[in-house]
Amino acid sequence: MTAPTPDEKVAAPKPPTPKFVMPVPVLNRSNGRLIEDRFSTWPQRIFDSKWSLPSYRFGAAMLVAIAAALYATGWLVGELSTRGEQAYSLIFHYGASYGLSPLSVGVIWIALKVIAVLLVILVNGLWSIWWERKISAHIQSRVGPTFAGSPKGRNFHGWAQTPIDGLKLLLKEDITPAAADRWVHALAPAIVIAPCIIAFAPVSFGSQLAAANLDIGTLYIFAFAGISVIGVVMAGWASGNKYSLLGGLRAAAQIVSYELPRGFSIVPVLMFAGSLNLSVIADAQTGFWWGVVPKWFVFYPVVGQIAFAIFLIASVAETNRTPFDIPEAESELVSGFHTEYSGMKWSIFFLTEYAYVLLGSFLLATFFLGGGGAPLPYAPFLLVPSWLWMLAKALLMMFVFLWIRWTLPRLRADQLMDFTWKFLLPWCFANIALAGLYLAFWLKP
């Protein structure tokens, strides 16, 4: 064999480049010392090679498995309301055999429902902090919590991060500043979270699945959700910190202002449904146009979309999240009203924030996304029970909340006020008028 000519060299097939290449050590040319090869962590190389990592493939497979397990569970369990009726009759007959009066059985049943709702709020705190951290990480080109709860390196997206964080918060020192008004400072977190828990009573988690089936459910929720602002103002005032005070003042102005568009934006929904009861509103959206498009209020032309957008914006503002997080604007007011809080008191503020996000998500799902109804009238969708659909829609809305938060900058306080009074509120009224026209000419009751 003769030596190959230059042309043959070019034509020779290149060996396939492996997916993940061990980094070549880089030496410092001035002193010959080894420099860690940081180029293997450059973004384009990480993006190219992420599927070659076993932990990445494991995590993805686990996500698919969890989705499948949820589907199977939903199919096996069926409607939770029927299970609840079975459980109630079981308690009733079992209690009757022990001589319990129907009244005491009723009390036990109400206590069980209260505990269930409390569990929803607490588990939501654990879940949504993890969810927010992972979503924000991936929006920001990071990976977020990865290692917490990983025996032998088989980590699953850092699932144990929030329980461990919660443990840390429990063990942290609870500091009350010397300048603080002790009682008001201690009472403020309770005033913030109590109305939030109470507001969850009429929330429907599926068809016929609510702790209290109230006919004035919508009004009840908005009334109680508005009380939390008193706790926020108390926290700002009692902390003995000027930044906290400014944050409390801003929160009072903001939350009171955004109550209005939030309330008025769902008036068209109430007009279409003809009731304030959340279950009735959800049931009013059953059925399909042309057999495929669900009759959800968000799909009502023009009116539905405007109402949905305004309600979503006002809900984000009610929960003090970016772009409306001026009460706790980190870069301006350090942390606003909860600057001087630590430990569990601080985490109660956070728990409340996430509970309100969950409340807003469930309300969005109930008012606009058809509650527990399936999006398409076909078998694989109809097999899923209503509580699972409700949960899926609420989590989708929660993702929208996070998506908004991690994308947009913050408004200024006066722009925020201009936005609600000069833009959102007029559009609310225009929307109500439009809904009236719909009722008069299209959807004759």
């Binding site: 420099i35 384009q44 997080d325 947009l408 900058p409 913050r410």
Partner: protein
């Protein structure tokens, strides 16, 4: 509500007690240890007094007992976000005293390093300015790219922040072919990222409403208060040391000087965003025609003893016109060194401009001037 903002505070129908708050020295948005004493009425600033000196390390005095080579190390600590121009300006002044002329390859390398470092510095500004206005995501994006530049510098000279790379008479080490390949890879990677920032932050309606028309500095005011760098050019004044008094062969490179229109926070931001594109152009040109030859001039003594005299050199650093005045009495250390730090000069206008603004706008204006406290206090 909006009427109260535009009117002077004394015309406001609502009277409240004045409140004095300390913005800093420990505050998330003062970018270091700047303290601003704010007297506020509601949310409106009545009086603002910037207070500097929390990071004073006395480098100008220290230079009087250090050798010339050691002063380069001191210069790293002024503007620690972009240390290459600091090294460069001291070396230019000292080379004038010593009568040394660096070889062409060293000049080209100095230009490459300064422009790369300018990108890193502007990326830090872009990210932290987003955080100041409540957008957290651009920060991580900007730092992802900034990390790549720091990796490049680490490969080059072993340091990620205080390089000490530009030395009297040249540079510390020559660049390797692998390094230039990595830099070219970065340049190609970085170009589309700039458009990404535009979609994420620059033309975001909320961002524009927070910055356009806020913190207006007219061209006359900018010149009167001796602003320089992007702060001056944001007001529409076309002054760039690289164009007007070219050093290190900047006259060979084809680049534009981006100018703002109204002198608002957004214009200053936009100038910096555009300067990154121009820096990329300069880097590409410099890498394409990198001259061969030595990277260090001959005849620089281990202990330089320049003849008695004085020299002034200034460069367009990332934050503006950075100048060094060096006086020598013939000894082994400078008789006197004075630094004309751009951040310090840019900071002075705040006391006038902050009055009558809202607290949120204080952060917007302070962030847009892009100060580094290491350079303010030196």
């Amino acid at each position: 509500m909006s009427n109260q903002v535009t009117n002077a505070p004394s015309n406001s129908p609502v009277k409240t007690d004045q409140l004095f708050i300390n913005l800093g020295p420990q505050h998330p948005s003062t970018h270091g240890v700047l303290r601003i004493g704010l007297t506020i009425e509601g949310e409106i600033i009545i009086k603002a007094v910037p207070d500097v000196g929390y990071l004073h390390r006395g480098t100008e005095k220290l230079a009087e007992v250090r050798g010339y080579h050691h002063c380069v190390v001191l210069s790293d600590r002024w503007d620690y976000v972009s240390a290459m121009p600091n090294n460069l300006v001291f070396c230019l002044a000292a080379e004038k005293l010593l009568g040394v002329k660096p070889p062409p390859r060293a000049d080209a390398l100095r230009v490459v390093m300064c422009e790369t470092n300018r990108i890193a510095s502007h990326l830090l500004f872009l990210g932290t300015y987003g955080i100041d206005l409540g957008a957290f995501t651009p920060f991580l994006y900007a730092f992802r790219e900034r990390e790549m530049i720091l990796d490049l510098f680490e490969m080059l000279c072993g340091a990620r922040l205080t390089y000490n790379y530009i030395r009297l008479g040249g540079v510390m080490v020559d660049v390797s072919p692998e390094w230039t390949a990595r830099l070219k890879e970065f340049v190609e990677y970085f170009k589309p990222r700039l458009d990404e920032y535009d979609t994420l932050l620059t033309y975001n309606p909320i961002f524009m409403s927070r910055t356009k028309g806020v913190g207006l500095i007219s061209a006359k005011e900018a010149v009167d208060w001796a602003l320089s760098g992007p702060n001056l050019r944001g007001s529409g004044v076309n002054y760039d040391v690289r164009k007007h008094e070219p050093y290190c062969g900047y006259e060979q490179y084809d680049f534009d000087v981006p100018l703002g229109e109204t002198g608002s926070c957004w214009d200053r931001y936009f100038c910096r965003a555009q300067e990154m594109r121009q820096s990329l152009r300069i880097i590409e040109q410099a890498l394409a025609k990198l001259p061969e030859g030595p990277f260090m001039a001959t005849g620089v003594a281990k202990i330089p003893k320049p003849a008695a005299g004085e020299a002034y050199a200034h460069v367009e650093a990332s934050r503006g016109d950075l100048g060094i005045y060096l006086a020598s009495d013939g000894g082994i250390s400078p008789f006197r060194m004075h630094v004309r730090a751009p951040s310090f000069a840019n900071l002075a206008i705040l006391q006038e401009k902050l009055t009558g603004m809202k607290i949120s706008d204080v952060i917007a204006l302070l962030g847009s001037t892009d100060i580094v406290l290491g350079e303010v206090d030196r």
